[in-house]
């Protein structure tokens, strides 16, 4: 109740000094605007990086080291026995073995491709994955349906993005969505290579049928059901027993370091190339965001100093009024509270103004990027991510800056000698 009464008193002063306090609030708002803008930019860029390098904090990819003591002896490979040991590591929820297609394969496409004539020959790189790993993303059966049936294939979403943003515009081909490609078939010849110009005995003509797109699918090449790859490798006399890698899913992200240690003790290693790239880019974004946020903090600090000067001037001008407040029963604390309430209102107004400023600037920049920048791969819809945390932080920092700025003037006001103030 008392707070409401003091607020009513502060409101009168705020209205009277609206012009001067608006300048103070504007200064705080400018600093907060910069702070929120840079933080939202950092958050937006982190999301964009995550989009390019989607890394799970619960999963690790186990591979055989390229140079390992075991492999020199020729006996270190991931077979079913080692797979069982990996799956039994404490903290592992599930192990997903992956097997590379160890047989050359090519595709030659001559025909209409969504209304466009297309002539294309490509070497195919493929990896076999357990169907349950991609179950959430596939939209057509993803299992071995026999030698006479097309091979289900899942491509990485990032390949579709690269096709749409780079390949299609260069070749005048249409842009495609994943739903357009589901069920699409591409002829494939197993046992043949364009690169080495060699065809194995008894090559096999078949087809790939797109079953879906997934971030979990291999980035290089396409993903097939594990059983299909195992069958093709066996048919052509290639290794159909050992796995090229194993994806281990931990029960929690906290269990990952322990799992990594156990994997290393087995003579295997964790493939962190993609995670490392994401980490390095993420760190660069963090660093730039931090530097820009410090700049914004400096602007906010200058605004706080300006607030100090404004409130000192206000207290000087209102010495007599402060004397009146003391005469009608205000304590020193009441006088300080009135000044700090005025500062709080100034800070909150500055914070809200700053957030509006940041959102407006972000919208303008996004609009500029949308209309003036080329459509490059993984170009985000927005470079910014505003969360409620930014609103809270913006208003909170603005409030603190204003209260900090008004602290010493409020203390000076509280310490005024009322008799002297009334005699002036």
């Amino acid at each position: 109740m008392k707070g409401a009464r003091l607020l009513r008193l502060a409101r009168g002063n705020l209205l009277r000094e609206l012009g001067v306090l608006s300048v103070s609030a504007g200064g705080v708002g400018l600093g907060i605007g910069c702070l929120v803008f840079f933080l939202a930019l950092g958050a937006g860029l982190r999301l964009a990086v995550n989009d390019v390098f989607p890394a799970s904090t619960r999963e690790v990819e186990v591979v055989v080291p390229q140079v390992a003591f075991g492999s020199l002896l020729g006996d270190l490979k991931i077979d079913d026995a080692l797979l069982k040991r990996l799956a039994a590591i404490h903290g592992v929820e599930r192990a997903f073995p992956k097997m590379a297609l160890r047989v050359p394969a090519v595709t030659r496409y001559n025909g209409m491709f969504f209304g466009h004539e297309l002539h294309m020959g490509l070497e195919i790189i493929a990896t076999g994955l357990p169907p349950e790993l991609l179950a959430q993303d596939v939209r057509a059966p993803f299992e071995d349906q026999g030698e006479s049936k097309p091979i289900p294939a899942v491509a990485n979403r990032r390949l579709l993005e690269l096709y749409n943003k780079v390949f299609a515009p260069q070749r005048g081909l249409p842009r495609l969505t994943d739903s357009m490609l589901i069920g699409f078939q591409i002829p494939v010849e197993l046992g043949r290579s364009y690169i080495v110009g060699k065809t194995m005995d008894n090559p096999q003509q078949t087809a790939l049928q797109i079953a879906g797109f997934s971030d979990r699918a291999a980035l290089a090449g396409i993903s097939m059901p594990l059983a299909v790859v195992r069958r093709i490798n066996a048919r052509f006399g290639a290794d159909a027993e050992s796995y090229s890698s194993v994806l281990l899913r931990a029960r929690s992200s906290q269990a990952v370091p322990g799992i990594a240690e156990a994997v290393k003790r087995m003579g295997l290693e964790i493939d962190e190339s993609e995670r490392r790239s994401a980490l390095q880019i993420g760190q660069a974004v963090e660093l730039v965001t931090l530097a820009l946020s410090l700049l914004a903090a400096l602007i906010t600090a200058l605004a706080a100093i300006n607030t100090t000067q404004t409130f000192y001037a206000s207290v000087r001008e209102r010495r007599r009024e402060i004397g009146i407040l003391r005469a009608v029963g205000a304590t020193r604390g009441d006088v300080a509270a009135v000044i700090l309430l005025e500062a709080a209102a100034t800070g909150i107004a500055g914070g809200i103004f700053g957030i509006v400023l940041a959102r407006t600037a972000a919208a303008l920049l996004d609009w500029f990027a949308k209309t003036h920048l080329p459509d490059f791969p993984f170009k985000p819809q927005s470079f910014f991510h505003f969360g409620w945390g930014h609103v809270g932080l913006g208003v909170g920092v603005a409030l603190l800056a204003a209260l900090f700025g008004a602290f010493f003037p409020a203390r000076a006001a509280a310490r005024l000698d009322p008799a002297k103030a009334l005699s002036e």
């Binding site: 008392k2 009513r8 003391r326 005469a327 009608v328 029963g329 020193r332 009322p418 008799a419 009334l422």
Partner: protein, 231 residues
Amino acid sequence: MTELAAKLVAVEKRYPPREPGAAPQRLFAGLDLDVARGEFVAIEGKSGSGKSTLLHILGGLDRQFAGEAYVFGQALRGLTDNQLATLRHQKLGFVFQSFNLLPGLSALDNVLLPDAFGSGVPDAARRAREALERVGLADKAKARPAALSGGERQRVAIARALLSRPPLLLADEPTGNLDATTGEGVIALFRELHKEGMTLLIVTHEVRVSHAAERVLVLREGKLVPGEEGT
């Protein structure tokens, strides 16, 4: 023995010397004052004689003095800053020569000012309207001080002093900035308050105010001496 509303005992007040090496200026030299509850006392004196300082000491606003000051039996020297604020809030009303209204607030909000402090004033909104009605400004409740005449501003200031119904009203040259007619209105209001039992201590240099008082004292050479009696 009549209970005293205000009492000063051997009060001395000095101001720092105006020039280095000079002697401190002595304003009061062993000043004594007794004001009985319900009394209407006027204190006259020349400009600079210390009339305002006397009120500031009694109101606990000026604590830099020697001697003792009591308000309704409470020794002001023993009170903390917050206790003095409570005393002012509950037992004292101040009226100043220059009105001292807050320019950012309406007349009604100025009257309500004491309600913002301490434990507030019971039924403050109704009391504020009654106080404005009593000083004849019920229709000016929403007006800002800048839109009021000098007499109206002083009446708002009196209404503010009356909000918490204090038993002791301290007025510093309350008619000093008013014309004769408006000043008479204010004096009439003081008479009414006195009749209702309020203790009034008014410092003035105007004879018409002194005539309204029961007792007149003159502040001369740092001491209070009896002056010409009022009504």
